[in-house]
C-alpha cells in the first residue's frame, strides 16, 4: 500500500514509475474515507483539488521534470493555516464560514514544491490545548487507542500521520503542540527555531512563541518537510534571514563524539516510570552510538510553565481581539448595540479554554498589573533563555522526555491546571525560541508510544535531525503501526 510509505519511499516509486501521484492521492483519499470517521483527524478534505494537483504532478514525472522530493506527495495541514479558497476554522466556531483569499507562506511553499494537499486537520481551538478536546467541532482519536487523546493542539496532524491518513503533515507548536502530540501518536514532530519558518498566514495564538513544523513518519521525512518550508519570508518580519542548510545531507553524520546534555530538572517526581525508563534507555542507546552524556541543570525550568501561562494568554487576548463579528466569520444576530454584538458573538463563538485565556491575558496586561504579571513573566523568560545558553556552552544537544506521561483518556483531565502540566517539558523550549524534536522512543506495556525530546541550539535543526536519525536507525520503534479497522 502506498499509504504505508514515507515521503522518500513514495518519491522513489514516483521516479521509478512504479506508482503515480494520482494513485497515491486516490489511495490516501480512500483510506481517509474508510478510517477518518473513526480517527476524526480531518476537519476538511479537499479531494477534488488534491486529485487535480496529483494529475499535474503525474505530468511532471512523466516528462521527467519533478519539482523535488515533495512533488506529488499527499500531505495534510493543520486548520490553523490559511488556505486560499478553502475554509479555515482554526478549530473555532467564530471563524465559521471564513474562506481566506490567501495562502499561508508555508502552504504556498508546499504547493510550490508540488505537494498534494489532502485537507485541513483538526486542532484545539486557536491552538489552545493539549488534547484536541478543545476543538469546537469534534475530538480527534489517538490511533493507538481510540479512547485516548492524540495530544494537542496539533492532534489532527499527529493522528493523521500515525494512521497513514497523510504522508506527512504540518502543525504548529506554541508550548509543545507539535512535540507532545508526536510523542502521543508515535511519530517524528519537529518544532524549528523561532524565526526559521514564516508565520505569515498562520492564524496567530501567541506571536512570540508560535512556530510551524512538520509531523513525519521518520526523521528523513521531517528533514525534507523542514527543507521545503524553512527560510526567510519578506511577509514575516520575525522570520530570520539565515541560510537554510541541506538537512538531508547532514542526516547521516551520526552522534560519535557529540556531547549530549541530560537536564536534571526533566527527571522529576510526576514523570511516568515507563516514560522515564524508555528515555533512560534511549540515552544509553545514544551512548552506545558514541555520544558522550553530561548532566546539566536548567534551574528555571520550574518557573517556565507559570511564565508561559502569562505570556501566551497575554498575546492571545490581543491576537484574538479581531474576532468581533464585524468583518468575517460568525456574527450572532439580534444585538441591541455594538457592545452587545461583540459580547454575544464572542460569547457564542469562543470555547471555554479560549475564553479562560483571553480573560487571563487581558488581566495580565491591564494597567496596574502589567509589571506584576506580564513584565515579570518576560523576566523569567530571559532567565529560561540564559539557562539554555549556559547549557549549550557545554553540550551540543539536550535530550529529555517529551512529555511526563503517555496519551491520557479522552475526558480524563477536566482540571485545566493538570492539563497544563502536560507541557512542562516542552514549554521552556518555546520560551527560549529553540528548536525541539520528538522521536519515538518506545511503547508502554499497554502499547502507547513514548517520545524522546531532542533540544538544540538556535537554528541548529540539523543537529537535532542528525541525533534523532542516529537513534532512529538504531531502533525499530517506527516499524510498529497502530491497528485500525474501518
Amino acid at each position: 500500500m502506498l499509504t504505508d510509505l514515507t515521503i522518500h519511499e513514495l518519491g522513489a516509486r514516483f521516479r521509478r514509475g512504479d506508482a503515480t501521484p494520482t494513485q497515491a492521492a486516490r489511495e490516501y483519499l480512500a483510506r481517509i474515507a474508510a478510517l477518518d470517521p473513526t480517527v476524526k483527524a480531518y476537519l476538511t478534505v479537499t479531494g477534488d483539488a488534491a486529485l487535480a494537483r496529483a494529475a499535474e504532478a503525474d505530468a511532471r514525472f512523466k516528462s521527467g521534470a519533478p519539482l523535488g522530493p515533495l512533488d506529488g506527495v499527499p500531505l495534510g495541514v493543520k486548520d490553523v493555516f490559511c488556505t486560499r479558497g478553502v475554509r479555515t476554522t482554526c478549530g473555532s466556531k467564530i471563524l465559521e464560514g471564513f474562506v481566506p483569499p490567501y495562502d499561508a507562506t508555508v502552504v504556498a511553499r508546499l504547493l510550490g514544491a508540488g505537494a498534494v494537499i489532502l485537507g485541513k486537520l483538526n486542532m484545539d481551538e486557536f491552538a489552545m490545548g493539549s488534547s484536541t478536546e478543545n476543538s469546537a467541532y469534534f475530538t480527534t482519536r489517538n490511533p493507538w487507542d481510540l479512547s485516548r487523546v492524540p495530544g494537542g493542539s496539533s492532534g489532527g496532524s499527529a493522528a493523521a500521520v500515525a494512521a497513514d491518513l497523510a504522508a506527512a503533515t504540518l502543525g504548529t507548536d506554541t508550548g509543545g503542540s507539535i512535540r507532545q502530540p508526536a510523542a502521543f501518536c508515535g511519530n517524528v514532530g519537529l518544532k524549528p527555531t523561532y524565526g526559521r519558518v514564516s508565520r505569515f498566514g498562520l492564524v496567530a495564538f501567541a506571536s512570540s512563541l508560535d512556530q510551524v513544523g512538520p509531523f513525519a513518519k521518520d526523521v528523513l521525512d521531517a528533514a525534507l518537510m523542514l527543507q521545503a518550508i524553512a527560510g526567510h519570508d519578506p511577509l514575516d518580519s520575525t522570520s530570520a534571514a539565515i541560510p537554510v542548510p541541506d538537512y538531508a545531507a547532514e542526516l547521516g553524520l551520526g552522534v560519535q563524539g557529540l556531547k549530549v546534555g541530560i537536564p536534571a530538572e526533566y527527571f522529576i517526581e510526576g514523570l511516568d516510570a515507563e516514560v522515564e525508563a524508555a528515555v533512560r534507555a534511549a540515552i544509553e542507546t545514544l551512548k552506545g552510538l558514541g555520544a558522550k552524556t553530561e548532566s546539566i541543570s536548567l534551574p528555571h525550568t520550574e518557573y517556565g510553565l507559570a511564565a508561559y501561562y502569562l505570556i501566551a494568554p497575554a498575546e492571545c487576548s490581543s491576537n484574538l481581539a479581531r474576532y468581533d463579528g464585524v468583518k468575517y466569520g460568525l456574527r450572532v444576530p439580534g444585538a441591541r448595540d455594538l457592545i452587545d454584538m461583540y459580547s454575544r458573538t464572542r460569547g457564542v463563538g469562543f470555547g471555554a479554554e479560549v475564553k479562560r485565556r483571553v480573560m487571563l491575558g487581558t488581566y495580565a496586561l491591564s494597567a496596574g498589573y502589567y509589571d506584576a504579571y506580564y513584565g515579570k513573566a518576560q523576566k523569567v523568560r530571559t532567565l529560561v533563555q540564559r539557562d539554555f545558553q549556559k547549557a549549550f556552552e557545554r553540550v551540543d544537544v539536550i535530550v529529555a522526555p517529551t512529555t511526563p506521561s503517555v496519551a491520557f483518556k479522552i475526558g480524563e483531565k477536566e482540571d485545566p491546571l493538570s492539563m497544563y502540566l502536560n507541557d512542562v517539558f516542552t514549554i521552556p523550549v518555546n520560551l527560549a525560541g529553540l528548536p525541539g524534536l520528538s522521536v519515538p522512543a518506545g511503547f508502554t506495556k499497554a502499547g502507547l508510544p513514548i517520545g524522546l525530546q531532542v533540544i538544540g541550539k538556535a537554528f541548529d535543526e540539523a543537529m537535532l535531525l542528525r541525533t534523532a536519525r542516529a537513534y532512529e536507525a538504531a531502533t525499530t520503534w517506527r516499524e510498529r503501526k497502530p491497528e485500525l479497522a474501518a
Binding site: 518580519s237 497575554a314 481581539a321 479581531r322
Partner: protein, 483 residues
Amino acid sequence: MSGAYDVVIGLEVHAQLLTRSKMFCGCSTVFGAPPNTQTCPVCQGMPGTLPVINRRAVEFGIKTSLAIDCIVNADNRFARKHYYYPDMPKNYQITQYEEPLAEHGHLDIEVDGAARRIGIERLHLEEDVGKLIHEGSLETAQSSRVDFNRAGVPLMEIVSKPDIRTSEEAGAYLRRLRAIVVYLGVCDGNMEEGSMRCDANISLKRAGATPLGTKVEVKNMNSFRNVQHALEYEIKRQGRALDAGERIVPETRLWDPDKGQTVSMRSKEFAHDYRFFPEPDLPPLNVEARWIEAVRATLPELPAARRVRFMRAHALTAYDADLLTGSRALADYFEAAVAQCGKPKAVANWILNELLRELPGDDERAVAACAISPGNLAGLITLIEDGTISGKIAKDVFEKMYRSGEDARTIVSREGLTQVADAGALGAVVDGVLAEHAKVALDYKAGKKAALGFLVGQVMKATAGKASPGVVNSLLAEKLSKL
C-alpha cells in the same frame, strides 16, 4: 479672570505621511478612492496576516525629527494599543509607546516679535484606522459601513511639551510645524482633508502656582483658526469656572465650529485601559547612526533658514519674510519671480497684497494651481518698472491675468493699455481739461494747491487711466504757469 491664571497648553499633532504605500503593507494611500478599494488582507487585519514596517515612513519620521531637533532613538519599537471599535481591523492599533522614534526636540516660534522656544516631547509612528459611514445620522442609522482605505495609512504623531501659553502661540507653533513638514515633503499639511490633525491639552493654574491645573483635552479642530478659537474659548471657560470656585473635570471636549464652543465628549475619569505591550510581530527597529546621517544629508533648506536668507539677500522685512516662507510653495513662487525680474520688494508686495487675496487658500495646492505663473508676475512687474503701464492699470491687468492665465504683455497690447507718455498727445488733453475747468485752474493759481490733484484726475479720466502720471504732472505745471 484676566491675569489671574497661567495657561498651560500642549499640542498633539498627527501628520499623515506622504508615502505611496501604507505603514505595514503595500496598499496605496491615495485619498478619495472608492471605499475598500485600497485594502489587502494585512491592512484589514485578516487572520494570520503580519505587518512589515514601511522603510520610507521611518525615513520621513527621521527627517522630521531632525528638522525639529529631536534625538532619534537608535533602538525603538512598536507596541499594540488595544480598544474595540469597528473601524479598527485588529481591534488594536500598532503604534509606538515606550520607545518612540525620536524625543527631546524643540521648535522656535515668534509671536508679536517675541521669540519663544516650544519643547517637543516625542515623535512617533503609527497606523491610521478606517472610517465608519452611517446610513443617515449616527443615532438613527439602520446600518453602518466601514471603509478601510485609510486603515494602515502611516501617521506621525508629534507631541509638544506643555510649553504653550496662549492661543496665538498655539497657532504660531502649528503654522511653523506645518511649514516644516510641507517643506520636507513628508506631509501635505492639509487640515481640511485630515492630513494634519491636532488635539490640544489645556489647563489653567493660579498665576505663579506650581501644581498644574486639571487638564482638558480638546479634539476635532480641523483648521488653524479652529484651534485658536477653541483654545480661546477654553481659556475663558475654565477661567470663569475657576473664578466661580468650580472644579475643572478632566475630560475630552469637542470643538463645535458652528456654535463656536467646546462640548463635553467623554469623561477622562473612566479612561480606557489600552493594555499596551510590545508588538510581537515586529522585531525592534534599529535606526543606525549611518541611516540618520544619510537622511540628514537630504534635508532641504528649512523655513527658519530661508526666512533669514530672504531678509538678508532680498532686503525683506521680518514680517514679509515670515509670511512668504510660511509655505514652501509660496516661497518657491517668490524666488522664481524674483529670479526673472530682479525686484524682490515689488514681487513680495504683489504676492502678499494681491495674490494672497485672490487665492482660495494659502496652502501648497492653491499656490501650485494659481493661473499666474511666477514668470507672468515677473513680466507684469517689468512692465510697471519700465513705465509701460501704470500701477493702477497694473492692478486691472493682474485681475485679468488671474482669470485668464495670459501673460501681462498680451493683455496690455490687446486692450491698448500701454501708458501714454507722449507730450504732444497728452498736451491736447491737458488743454481741453484746462479749458473745461477754467475756474479750478484759477483757484490753483490763487494758491489752492489741492486743485492740482483734481486736474490730474480729470486728465487720467479722459485717457482711461493710460496717461503717464509724471508726464501729466509736468505738462499741467507748465501750462498752469503760463496762464
